[in-house]
């Protein structure tokens, strides 16, 4: 168990996380290897109850009314062996007048045949915020299936932010599906950044339903695919209330034999609501490349710089 904990934190550090956070008593954390909880720590205002199941962990997370969790809650999920399955079911409730920021690192450094599923059901109260940042670190075999699903409801005067990035190692198979409902004067901001190559497969579906007055939504995707990788992005924003405003912003860059597809769905059913979208698929802009080459960069380095900036 101690050895697993150490390896998990090593992988966590390699994924860009800061293992010192796990030693800090002011920072809440949870470390799960396969279906074993191997580290946990709570702070005041936060209830976090993990329960081990046959294939993963069920997590019940509550941020108590009026509690603002000062430091990001650090989560580390992973499977260290070459094969395995991990199913994480999260039920999160952020009560009124409260807020929390979560920083999850999911590490599968040796995966040859690993499945990681996450099912989240998240309820955000009024005058509250919930920010969920998920960073993945995969090995180079491409043997990971990542299937995150989330249903999120956001109350009045609240804020939801999700950031997902998978930039280190092979993607493998990725199928994300987030769906959210936003009430009055609340906002949603969802961002996904992924770099796929070889024969990686990427499917992203993010939806925001702006059903509250003056609700706001931004769905942003940045995906780069090269070699024989393929991506399909469905970004959907529905605005059905007075003064609801939304924007979908999707950029996919393809290199080599890669294929990319973007399907922005914009649905407005109230005359005082407005949703805009922009989507671009193609290779890196020639002007950007030539600008950097005119400073002395080789073409390949210029492309890398543009792509890494886009995914930053």
């Amino acid at each position: 168990m101690i050895q697993d904990y150490k390896y998990m934190l090593d992988a966590y550090a390699e994924a860009g996380g800061s293992p010192e956070a796990f030693k800090n008593s002011k920072v809440a954390h949870l470390v799960v290897h396969r279906n074993k909880v191997i580290g946990e720590h709570l702070v005041e205002g936060l209830d976090l109850k993990p329960r081990e199941t046959a294939s993963g962990v069920d997590i019940h997370l509550i941020v108590r009314k009026g509690a603002i969790i000062k430091y990001p809650v650090h989560l580390c999920f992973g499977v260290l062996p070459k094969e395995g399955i991990q199913e994480i079911n999260i039920r999160a409730r952020v009560e009124d007048d409260s807020g929390v920021k979560l920083l999850a690192h999911c590490v599968f450094p040796n995966a040859v045949r690993v499945v990681h599923k996450m099912n989240a059901d998240i309820e955000i109260g009024n005058n509250s915020y919930y920010e969920y940042n998920e960073v993945h670190f995969h090995g180079f075999e491409g043997g990971v299936e990542v299937i995150p699903k989330a249903k999120i409801r956001v109350g009045n005067n609240s804020r939801l932010v999700t950031n997902f990035s998978l930039l280190k190692g092979r993607v493998g198979y990725f199928d994300l599906d987030y769906d959210s409902e936003i009430l009055n004067n609340s906002s949603l901001e969802m961002t996904v950044k992924i770099y796929g190559y070889s024969d990686d497969r990427i499917k992203i579906k993010e939806a925001g339903r702006l059903i509250g007055k003056s609700s706001r939504g931004l769905i942003k995707s940045r995906v780069v695919v090269k070699d024989n990788a393929q991506s399909e992005i469905i970004n959907e924003l529905v605005a059905s209330a007075e003064n609801a405003r939304g924007h979908v912003d999707c950029i996919e860059v393809i290199q080599g034999n890669a294929k990319a597809r973007a399907i922005p769905i914009v649905n407005v059913t109230h005359e005082l609501a407005k949703v805009t979208h922009e989507a671009a698929i193609g290779r890196v802009s020639k002007k950007q490349i030539e600008t950097l080459m005119a400073r002395g960069l080789e073409e390949e380095k210029a492309i890398d710089l543009v792509v890494s900036g886009m995914l930053k």
Partner: protein
């Protein structure tokens, strides 16, 4: 000493002749302005000189310090000291001003990035960490482009309409920066359609319809431009001229 020599350069793009037997000589350590109306081919000349991939001349030669560089790709030209500040510079998501400027710097001299920003009237503290993206106004992006070539310390910089999008208050600083480039040993090829900008040059070449039609001091060429080129229908209706609807008048062209 001659730094750049262009001999009988011709460029056709999509069936249209953009540059026609154009020849030019630029002396080292000078500011040489290329003055001309819109659609004269000035920016195309800049793209040919820098080596943009869609701007391969059908004939003619480009010499840099006596060496034929006509076949050099863009990055090789940059490495021997030729660069371009674009009229409408590209924007880069996720790349900040500090990193963008440092891309071309051959010597990582401390304080050079900040100095470059001061020269274009941008406060480094405010701009170093900002993205070179769509959050910048056109004028800010333009100034950052000029700061980037300043920090690069090239042997030859082509400035394509450096004053466009720059407010009148900052124009003097841009002019001073161009002079500072020359003082530091960079030769400047200054492309403009405004004779008052061309005035800061040591020598001016007047360009029209893909030709160099006159060369001389900025005063001589500026006077000619005002008197002959501005009223000329070739300038006012370049497309009509191309279709042969307006006859070229020798006295206004040569």
């Amino acid at each position: 000493m001659e730094l750049l020599r262009v001999e009988k350069l011709s460029l056709n793009l999509e069936g249209r002749q953009i540059l026609k037997d154009l020849s030019l000589s630029v002396k080292s350590g000078t500011i040489h302005s290329i003055l001309g109306p819109n659609a004269a081919g000035k920016s195309s000349l800049a793209y040919v000189l820098i080596g943009c991939c869609d701007y391969n001349p059908q004939c003619g030669k480009i010499y840099f310090l006596g060496k034929d560089i006509t076949g050099y790709p863009i990055q090789k030209r940059a490495k021997i000291g030729i660069t371009l500040a674009w009229q409408e510079p590209a924007r880069f998501e996720g790349l900040n001003v500090k990193d963008y400027i440092s891309v071309g710097m051959r010597e990582k001299k401390p304080g050079l990035i900040e100095e470059s920003l001061y020269h274009v009237l941008l406060e480094p503290k405010e701009y170093l960490d900002r993205g070179v993206d769509k959050t910048l106004s056109g004028g800010e992006r333009k100034r950052i482009e000029l700061a980037a070539v300043f920090a690069m310390r090239p042997r030859l910089v082509i400035l394509d309409e450096p004053d466009s999008g720059i407010d009148i208050l900052a124009l003097d600083n841009i002019v001073n920066m161009i002079k500072e480039l020359r003082r530091q040993g960079t030769t400047v090829l200054l492309i403009t359609h405004r004779e008052e900008v061309a005035e800061i040059a040591d020598k001016t070449s007047l360009m029209c319809s893909g030709f160099i039609v006159k060369e001389g001091t900025p005063e001589e060429v500026g006077k000619y431009f005002k008197e002959k080129c501005i009223p000329c229908p070739t300038h006012l209706y370049p497309e009509e001229k191309d279709k042969g609807k307006i006859k070229e008048k020798n006295d206004t062209r040569l």
